[in-house]
Subunit: 282 residues, 2 copies
DNA sequence: ACATTAATAGTGTGATCACAGTTGACTTGT
DNA sequence: ACAAGTCAACTGTGATCACACTATTAATGT
């Protein structure tokens, strides 16, 4: 008899070290979902540079969690896959690294950053601090059209949730918030907030696929109501509650994970402050 | 090759089906801490890539306001000035653009973003929101050495102010705050905050040269006192007061400076109309 | 047999070149 | 003398190649 463990995938990586092995079944849904080809969005090629298109594509792929953490990302590989030269790809990757979306490790490896309890809590706190402030500062610029567009995104969100389309669910959720914050012209908040989304996206996607959507109370309608009433305090509360509700109990399970994992591996000692992967001993 | 996963334990059950079994290693908070790229603070690294050195140098130059807004920045010009090829320079510029430090205009022009009243107020609000939160979250990790280092930066700040050395004044001020926020390991706040510093830096420098240092009350000693007492509320208040006091009445003179900035740069090209980032599919 | 070493394929970095579009000083026309 | 038109130099973008280094595979030794 074999004991199976249902787990929430946080990250994957590869190595040749075979010490300390345990058997776990991996659900097929976790298999690496590589970039979908022929993404019909194709925001109008316009006159954008190739680097911009590559960047935008990889950006949405990461934000919506279409790229699994641990999946190998190489310049030449992406260039060949996307049918372009290596030049635009490396600039796009450099840009994504500056946005904290990917990590460029020193050993010629690129990966999506690993999620940890501390990092998750920090990301949530930063999102609440920035997004509630951005919402309040966007409030004076809200028009009826803005609210209408947010409502459209909200209905798209419900529809996506109804058919368990996590991809569209995440996209609609981000679009809902983005239209709110982008109402203020020349907002310096949006780039910072989207950097946070890029860091949370891959984890949210995996959490959704394993736990399912967790919105019991629709905070979006509360936010919309606060917008109509021009109620600053209600808006701030709604945004914070939206972020906290949709995420917190994922964070609670994350806590248990940390306990469950630190316990059996206590003999590994404290986590090293800074450790380099040592080259093969000569 | 073996694939490892970092997982969150959700549930366990038993069965006899052994299909689709894979070997994984469960190690909590495992971090492949290979040297990350771009440690922005310490640019004195010896084995860094050329692109990293260029990026770090331009980064501090912008943050301390050594590059005047409107000064022409070209890839080949910087490459020749720094004695390197154009390749590292363009990647460094791309990275700085992603950090909101510079603007890549559509008409083949690069510039430091111009300051406006709205943008300045947004930057101040974002700094307060992020930095006070980062300070509070760093508080549990503060040690005596941290406070000692911050005091050293504070004395350096006073010394720089005494001799009107705005360059060192700004550097010491940023270093003071950075050591505080960096006390929390793996802080995701620091990159976001430094992005804000990069946007405020050029303007602060110009304001200093035109108005002079404006610290009447030293909020840094209050912050240090709050750190020693582990007083969360006092720390938050001190940080916010520090940012607000040091900047606010600079903002009052912002109007005149804004005119002075936009006036001589009339032929710098129009603001890019389509500066928004490509939204994900909705 | 297993660990160690050598070899090979593959990686990011940096340099150089071609190209289309822009800039800005110069030429030209009146 | 002054404005409009012109052209050469310059710009960022993208492609291709060389190089040092790495990780994976294959060969080797004990």
């Amino acid at each position: 008899m074999i004991t199976y463990v249902q787990v929430l995938l946080l990250s994957t990586w590869s190595t040749t070290d075979t010490s300390d092995l345990k058997a776990v079944q991996i659900r097929p849904a976790w298999r690496a979902q590589v970039l979908k080809e022929a993404d019909p969005t194709s925001e109008a090629l316009e006159d954008a540079t190739i680097q911009q298109r590559i960047h935008g594509r990889l950006r949405t792929d990461i934000m919506l969690g279409r790229i699994a953490p641990g999946e190998p990302l190489t310049i030449r590989g992406l260039a060949e896959k996307l049918g372009v030269s290596a030049m635009p790809v490396r600039e796009a990757l450099r840009r994504l690294a500056a946005e904290q979306a990917i990590e460029l490790l020193g050993n010629r490896r690129v990966r999506i950053p690993i999620m940890s309890v501390n990092r998750f809590e920090d990301l949530l706190a930063a999102r609440i601090a920035l997004e509630s402030e951005a919402a309040v500062r966007a409030l004076p610029h809200i028009t009826a059209e803005t609210i209408a567009e947010m409502e459209r995104h909200d209905t798209a969100l419900d529809a996506a949730m109804a058919r368990n389309d996590y991809d569209q669910w995440l996209a609609a959720n981000f679009a809902f918030h983005r239209t709110l914050y982008a109402a203020r012209p020349d907002s310096i908040f949006l780039p910072l907030i989207e950097s946070l989304w890029l860091q949370v996206g891959p984890f949210l996607r995996m959490a959704l696929e394993n736990v399912g959507p967790s919105y019991t109370v629709d905070r979006h309608v509360e936010a919309l109501q606060a917008l109509r009433e021009r109620n600053v305090m209600a808006l701030r509360i709604a945004i914070e509650a939206d972020l906290r509700d949709g995420i917190t109990h994922l964070g609670q399970r994350l806590m248990r994970l940390d306990e469950a994992l630190t316990l059996p591996a206590k003999h590994q000692g404290r986590r090293p402050k800074s450790r380099k992967i040592s080259p093969p001993p000569a």
